[in-house]
């Protein structure tokens, strides 16, 4: 067992777990934040994507100890009231169907837009390629990322 310090969405947690436990299960089953999902366990689908010090990672495939003392952002940390422009864009374009993969999709899109505020179709394909949506919401994800880019642009110019 290991004692690991996790800073999730600006809140500190200390978890006593098997050091090999993937970060995903510490977030879901130990801390109790269930917005981050399990999809494949082998970093193939992206459902478990969270930000580790701002970078999108597959929480199913990194041990919890790798996140010790690092800043973790999950979907709940983006905003709980859907005020983040990416969440707003997702609602505007009515992206989710079953919704299961969308936390991961949104976290990936947020990271993309932070690095690249005006992504092209190709940039979107590259950044979102690792995320499976079985319902087939891909056309709307593409639209929503462009909408979010616009919303963020408006927000930036208003400042």
């Amino acid at each position: 067992m290991a004692s690991v310090k996790l800073k999730i969405n600006d809140k500190n947690y200390t978890v006593e777990v098997d050091p090999k436990m993937p970060l995903l299960w510490a977030i879901r089953d130990v801390v109790g934040l269930t917005g981050t999902k399990y999809g494949c366990g082998i970093a193939q689908c992206g459902a478990c994507t969270v930000h580790l010090d701002g970078t999108p990672v597959r929480s199913c495939s990194i041990p919890v100890t790798a996140a010790n003392n690092k800043n973790i952002t999950t979907i709940e940390g983006l905003s709980t009231d859907n005020s983040h422009p990416v969440q707003q864009a997702w609602i505007q374009e009515q992206v989710p169907q079953c919704g299961y993969c969308q936390s991961g999709q949104i976290m990936a899109a947020t990271a993309l837009l932070k690095k690249n505020p005006n992504p092209t179709d190709k940039d979107i394909d590259t950044a979102m390629q690792g995320h499976i949506c079985r319902c087939g919401t891909y056309p709307r994800i593409r639209k929503a990322i462009k909408t979010a880019s616009q919303l963020m642009g408006q927000k930036a110019s208003a400042k």
Partner: protein, 722 residues
């Protein structure tokens, strides 16, 4: 507050809605199966010895609660059920609370969320119920004002007296309204007066799915809940010969190890369950198990053997025939031109993004479960039988489903959870890993189709003989007759084709195989459509006709003609260019007709790419055009995956593909542009969640033929290697 609501119903209502005061509550009651449902109040329900299903409840603050009795797995029932009621009830959908009904078919009628049935099976009585409540509220207001009902109207949760402009909100009227007997016949709104129906009203579940707050089965937690994983017999069915749990029990957190046995149709599947304090620890315990399997009576077959058998049967047998017309054999032998072809489609896993899971808390005299469940009523029946408890002691709660596609209508995972909870006397969550979910089935059955047709002088289909080989899902159930006709043999074929072809026969050759199979989005249509509409293209070619024109000549009815006209117009079919491949296909299932056109071309490296897909959906009366568009987009992408990305193969009696590294999925970069159109007409409501899937694959392969001259008859195929 004094109302006519009985104590029992009122308590239930309050529990249900979380409201502190309740007044007007309406439900549906069907006295005799098949007869039209009556709209009733709680007192009537009580006198009938039943509990009201409380579809609409309005409390004294005006808060409206609407029941959704069906599963929400992405297809939009959580939106469409309340959208129908809210339209007629004249309330703001954004201010309505939506609650899931628990599994109880006596109370709600069929709850099996399959066959694209939610709207088409319920729209008439759900609209009627909304309108009835509205009329009761209007009558209550008119009584209070002592004016004529006709001088009042309802709007946005209020009743307004037109001449004076006086207004009551619904909360002020519910007490009076609840004393009125519901009228069984009310005028429904005209389509042109709809405010939210047929409008792209945003889904109520969207905000829950963009901030992580939607609770899926996997997210359900109970105090003191443990986690279980199961090492199951890898050959779908079969037993445990012996197991060694010495190492497993040494893993920290592991609390119990024991065998668990569930029904898989007529067979049994046994496994060894490991229960621990976390999923991760349970999984480590499972990895440390040593299990020996007993596969007595199970053939260790391979994909090659299954398909060889199906092909052999098609060559040598006529099969079980049911839907026939004229004399197909004689007509075929006399045909000017005879065309034959064989098509093959693979076994496939459902691969919902949310792997199977279920939470159960079984006590001595009652049981409650929570999970991603498509058939809560069936599960209530099944668990009553398995646990030996009265049905009313089994509570089946539906969470949101992370995909369903038919897989979550089966009840092996719910049995596992209930049996484990009973054994450990504690609440438990059974979790399937992605590998479990991919290899264990039930699968979409693999099929082989043999088609033969004769053309007349004018290039019309005169005779059509269709034979299908593959597993009949109905044959799996205990006691099922193995020689019954598969009613799904004709699923997907246009009703208009049946009317225009003088001689036809449809037969099936059920494959006897122990591989468990189950509905997979659009069921047999998902594979039948490929055979029907590929063959239609081959016939058009032999007849020397344009594929779209050829189909037009075989559909007499206006409804089909209009759909083809629309498809032709939106896709620019007539103005297609030489270096573009165009393919068309039209299928019909679950009372909806969908036509699709795919356009392909070659990229700079000479590889085939999909440029665009046009879809025209005719589902008759509909609720929400944006949900329809989303469902058709999703159906097309799921079909693209099934056609070009994945298949489940069997080797030594086991599934080969185990996770998304070998069972590949369509990615965003492979998604073509999709344009969806909806026909506007007065036909009865048809299905939405599935009918968009079957025409895509044949439209794609027909387009590839148009571009390259290469006919694809076996799925899946690699688009990059065409």
């Amino acid at each position: 507050m004094e109302t006519t609501i009985s104590k029992l119903s009122r308590r239930n209502f309050i529990k249900l809605s979380g409201m502190t005061g309740a007044a007007l509550t309406l439900g549906l009651y069907t006295e005799v199966k098949g007869e039209e449902a009556k709209i009733i109040k709680p007192d009537v329900a009580k006198s009938l010895g039943t509990e009201l299903n409380a579809w609409i409840s309005i409390d004294t603050s005006g808060k409206v609660t609407i029941m959704n009795h069906r599963a929400e797995m992405g297809q939009g029932a959580y939106q469409s059920v309340p959208q129908m009621i809210a339209e007629e009830l004249e309330v703001d959908l954004n201010k309505v609370d939506i609650v899931f009904g628990v599994g109880n078919e006596k109370k709600y009628g069929s709850q099996i969320t399959g066959g694209s049935s939610t709207v088409r099976s319920a729209y008439k009585h759900l609209c009627r119920m909304g309108a009835t409540a509205r009329e009761m509220l209007i009558e209550a207001a008119a009584k209070k004002w002592n004016v004529d009902n006709n001088t009042c109207y309802a709007e946005n949760g209020n009743v307004i007296h037109k001449p004076s402009g006086r207004k009551f909100h619904y909360g002020e009227l519910v007490e009076e309204a609840s004393k009125i007997e519901p009228r069984q016949t009310v005028a429904l709104k005209k389509v042109e007066d709809y405010k939210i129906l047929r409008k792209p009203v945003p889904r109520q579940d969207t905000p829950l799915k963009t901030n992580g707050s939607a609770i899926f089965g996997i997210d359900k937690k109970l105090p003191g809940m443990l986690y279980a994983v199961i090492e199951r017999n890898p050959r779908f069915i079969g037993k445990v010969k012996s197991f060694d749990d010495t190492a497993a029990k040494k893993i920290p957190g592991v609390k119990h190890v024991f065998t668990v046995k569930v029904d898989v149709f007529s067979s049994v599947r046994e496994g060894v369950a490991v229960v621990a304090d976390t999923f991760w620890n349970a999984l480590q315990g499972r990895k440390a198990l040593k299990v020996e399997w007993d596969d007595t009576g199970f053939a260790h077959h391979s994909t090659e053997e299954l398909y060889a058998k199906m092909n052999e049967e098609l060559r040598t047998k006529e099969g079980i025939s049911y839907r026939t017309k004229g004399n197909v054999s004689s007509a075929l032998s006399k045909a000017t031109k005879k065309v034959e072809a064989v098509y093959e489609t693979p076994y496939q896993s459902h691969s919902c993004m949310e792997p199977l899971n279920c939470v159960a808390h079984v006590k001595e005299d009652a049981a409650e479960i929570w999970g991603p469940i498509q058939a809560p009523g069936w599960i209530q029946d099944d668990l009553a039988k398995v646990l030996g408890l009265p049905k009313e002691k089994i509570t089946v709660n539906m969470t949101f489903l992370g995909g369903g596609f038919g897989r979550k209508a089966f009840f092996d995972y719910t049995q596992e959870a209930a049996l484990i909870s009973r054994e450990i006397k504690a609440p438990v969550q059974v979790m399937w890993t992605r590998e479990d979910d991919t290899i264990q089935g039930p699968f979409r059955p693999g099929m082989v189709y043999q088609c033969a047709a004769g053309l007349s002088e004018g290039g019309r289909i005169n005779s059509y003989k269709f034979k299908m080989a593959g597993q009949n899902m109905d044959h799996q159930w205990p006691g099922a007759s193995k020689d019954s006709y598969n009613g799904s043999t004709t699923e997907g074929f246009l009703e208009a084709y049946f009317n225009s072809i003088p001689h036809f026969s449809f037969a099936d050759l059920p494959l006897d195989s122990p591989v468990p199979v189950m509905w997979w989005r659009s069921v047999y249509s998902s594979t039948n459509g490929f055979a029907y509409e590929s063959f239609m293209d081959e016939l058009a070619l032999e007849a020397g006709k344009d594929p779209l024109e050829f189909r037009r000549e075989h559909v007499g009815e206006e409804r089909y003609q209009l759909l083809i006209g629309k498809l032709e117009e939106v896709s620019g079919w007539k103005s297609r260019k030489k270096n573009e491949g165009f393919g068309v296909a039209i299928t019909e299932c679950f009372s909806s007709i969908v036509g699709e056109v795919v356009k392909v071309s070659k990229d700079a490296n000479g590889k085939v790419k999909i440029d665009k897909v046009w879809a025209v959906m005719d589902c008759g009366w509909y609720v929400n055009p944006d949900i329809i568009k989303a469902q058709v987009e999703g159906s097309i992408i799921m079909a693209l995956g099934a056609a070009t990305k994945h298949a489940t193969h069997f080797k030594d009696g086991k599934a080969v593909e185990r996770n998304f590294d070998s069972y590949k999925m369509v990615r965003i970069s492979e998604t073509p542009e999709i344009e969806v159109h909806i026909m506007d007409n007065d036909e009865k409501a048809g299905g939405v969640g599935e009918p968009g899937l079957p025409p895509f694959t044949p439209a794609l392969t027909n387009a590839i033929f148009d571009l390259t001259g290469k006919r694809i008859r076996t799925l899946p195929f690699n688009l990059e290697e065409v």
